[in-house]
Amino acid sequence: MSDSIRDLIVIGAGPAGMAAALAARRRGLDVLLLDEQPDVGGQIYRSITTTDAQRQRILGPDYSHGETLAQAVKAAGVEHWPGTAVWQVDTDKTVHALRGGANHHIAAKALVIATGAMERPFPVPGWTLPGVMTAGAGQILLKNAALVPSAPVVLAGCGPLLYLLAAQYLRAGVKIQAILDTADGTDWRLAIRHATALLAGWGYVRKGLGLLREIKAAGVPFHQGVEQLRIEGAGADAAEAVAFTRRGQAHRIACGLVLLHQGVVPNNQVTWSLRARHHWDDKQLSWVPTCDDWGQTSLPGIYVAGDGAGIGGALVAELQGELAGIAVANALGQGTCQDGEAQRARIRQHLAIRPFLNQQYRPRDAFRIPADEVIVCRCEEVTAGSIRAQVALGCSGPNQTKSFSRCGMGPCQGRQCGLTVTEVIAQATGLPPSDVGYYRIRPPLKSLTLAQLASE
């Protein structure tokens, strides 16, 4: 089924996507906003239009801000297709998507890709067991389903999101058995390098310190400097304990639910599939699409905004979305030719804290580049050791290791293993990740039946 050409298609209805759609719509563009969730909000504002007052209190004021944006999008008359799975995006800006089982391909003059972030992979022994989930999953269950852990939970990893979830759980009356902090530990000499950034981003820092105070006041056992982590299971069917070492001492906590988190990374499946240029960001330890200061990628008329352009948080996402929307309107001759400098200045302010956060919460090498026996590809159960063996056989990058080991060929198509594999190969070859490269990502980005594909 094909539709007439749209001015702009926005993929992703989180803060960046909503802001882009709004900015374009307000300048008279015909905008189509697509998302696979049943409502707007993305992950950070997940279920914002259906959560109750109690949950909003638990989740905090940052979450509630999303409601304003969601209402504005609806009021502006942005056409919104929820429950829509984009499975192919072409370089000529045609978007192929499934909606209600029917296949659509829609042409556009411009695209804004606002697919946001996802959890960084956290490959540890036992991470594929039932009972192991991400901290993000915990937060989604809270926002979307008003569900909380029923038994004392262990949170393991590092990063502000982990502490935010801990604080939210405490406000909800959930017992936290322990927080296992896997960051390298506070190295104040490195942190001082970012003192100016610290001052500029003091609002964020104060928020973070406040969360930590909340957690410590509740008396939650807090183990810092965790060096090794493994999750042990009952047979191969359920998590039953977490074992860890800290300062050389071994510990074991019996637990049926472990939530892992070591930061978020851009979800770049769409931009990779377009073969837009990406570069490796060594501070963020992830790939980032290379863009100009409006967010336009190396492909003309295709923009990224939000965490998918590099992790910056919800407010930065909103500003980047606005910039992209303005840019598209300008390009189609319907903007007011704003130069975007006001938005960029505010973005810079919000991003000032990032170097500090990136340093403070840099995930340990051992948790990004695991030992031989650890599964790196969950779908095909390929271990880090297998990747290293393929490198020894002559594979110089992730596509060759993929073809020799099936790593990356499973249903998730590299989303959970891609970063790990790039870094494992980088370590094994001594080459920087930028030279090692990333998977060739091909459509379909979401699976579809042959009948659906044939119906184009």
Binding site: G394, F404, P444, T449, L450
Partner: protein, 381 residues
């Protein structure tokens, strides 16, 4: 993998894909010290896009030598499978129980039968066989075959394997036999002086009295440096792969085969698309539609992955095996059936490259059959 300023060996193979790796394997078996110079992870690699058929029927219409060549390879294939399994422990999942070519119109069936009859006459070998099956007979052989299928041609000579395992097995066997493999290299030129060839990539150099260019689409420019005209151009093929399915397809067909992993591989297409190897519509949709016509139950099978790769296409579609007339010891090898021909490359071509007599079977595949004025037929759907 190491880089040295000048590496010396008995032979340098430029290209580490299926063709280069099979040739290297054969050369190592001849007792030569072999260097393989290969590109990077993001190089255009036809070897990653293979369908995996070990196929004979229908090949060589217009040049019966190609039919004989493919048939010969199919007969040598079990030996390759066994040797690789013995040396590496890797089973490349060769199945040679026969294959079927599906025809969806009477016209197709008629043309197919004419071609196969021509081939049988020309090849004139009792082992070279095919049978025509009508719709009902075809459905007996392949339950679930759609009602739109008017007939199939079936041949016991045909089969399939796992092409990625094949490439890995060749790499592993070569490593165990002491190949010197250099990857992430882009060869800039090949020079010659006093019986020695020097292959250069940046500041790295390889020297040997023999050199084989098996570098896919890069073969033409490199072969030209060695006094050979080896015209190749890209031809794009797209393939779809489904989720794992319960076994339902006992024989590979020209469009569809079920892999040893249970996934169903569906192809293929031929497009003149230059160097574009991105998956694009509407070709992927056409491939899907045709698959559903062949096996209606596939309508609900989920496509989880697709890919596109560029075949190495000569002007007439047949391989090129050439030794330079002006620079003996320099060879060029190209084809677009690196899987089927892997056995010939390892067991027949390699001994020739090592210094043996040129096999009579490949006389028809000299690159000298082409000149810069040769007309190029476009291959497309």
């Amino acid at each position: 993998m190491h880089t040295m300023n000048t590496h010396t060996s008995d032979v340098v193979v430029v290209g580490g894909g299926l063709v280069g790796s099979a040739l290297a394997y054969g050369l190592l078996r001849q007792g030569l010290f072999v260097a393989v110079v290969d590109g990077g992870d993001d190089a255009l690699r036809a070897s990653r896009g293979n369908f995996g058929l070990v196929w004979v029927q229908g090949k060589g219409y217009g040049l019966a030598d190609y039919a004989r060549w493919s048939f010969g390879s199919a007969r040598l294939w079990p030996g390759l499978r066994d040797a690789l399994h013995e040396e590496t422990g890797i089973d490349v999942e060769l199945a040679q129980d026969g294959g079927l070519h599906i025809c969806l119109t009477e016209g197709e069936m008629q043309q197919r039968l004419e071609r196969l009859q021509w081939l049988r006459r020309e090849v004139n070998d009792p082992g070279y066989q095919h049978t025509a099956l009508d719709a009902a007979e075809s459905r007996q052989r392949l339950p679930g075959l759609g009602s739109e299928v008017v007939g199939t041609t079936c041949s016991p000579m045909d089969g399939h394997c796992n092409p990625l395992k094949l490439l890995r097995a060749l790499h592993t066997a070569n490593q165990r036999r002491g190949v010197a493999l250099f990857n992430r290299m882009q060869v800039d030129d090949i020079a010659h002086q006093g019986g020695v060839f020097t292959v250069r990539a940046g500041t790295a150099r390889w020297q040997a009295p023999r050199v084989v260019v098996a570098a896919g689409l890069a073969t033409q420019s490199l072969a030209a440096m060695l006094g050979m005209f080896v015209p190749v151009r890209p031809n794009k093929g797209q393939v779809l792969i489904t989720e794992r399915m319960a076994p339902f397809l006992p024989y590979p067909t020209n469009y569809i085969r079920q892999t040893d992993e249970g996934t169903v591989q569906i192809g293929d297409s031929m497009e003149e698309a230059g160097y574009d190897d991105m998956v694009r519509s509407p070709v992927n949709a056409k491939i899907a539609a045709r698959a559903v016509r062949c096996f209606p139950a596939l309508a609900n099978a989920r496509v989880v992955r697709t890919w596109a790769a560029l075949r190495i296409m000569s002007p007439d579609g047949f391989p090129m095996y050439q030794e330079s007339a002006t620079l003996p010891g320099a060879f060029a090898v190209t084809c677009h059936s690196g899987v089927t021909l892997a056995a010939q490359h390892a067991f027949t071509i390699a001994p020739w490259i090592a210094g043996g007599a040129r096999p009579a079977a490949i006389a028809a595949f000299a690159a000298t059959r082409f000149t810069p004025d040769t007309e190029v037929k476009p291959y497309g759907i």
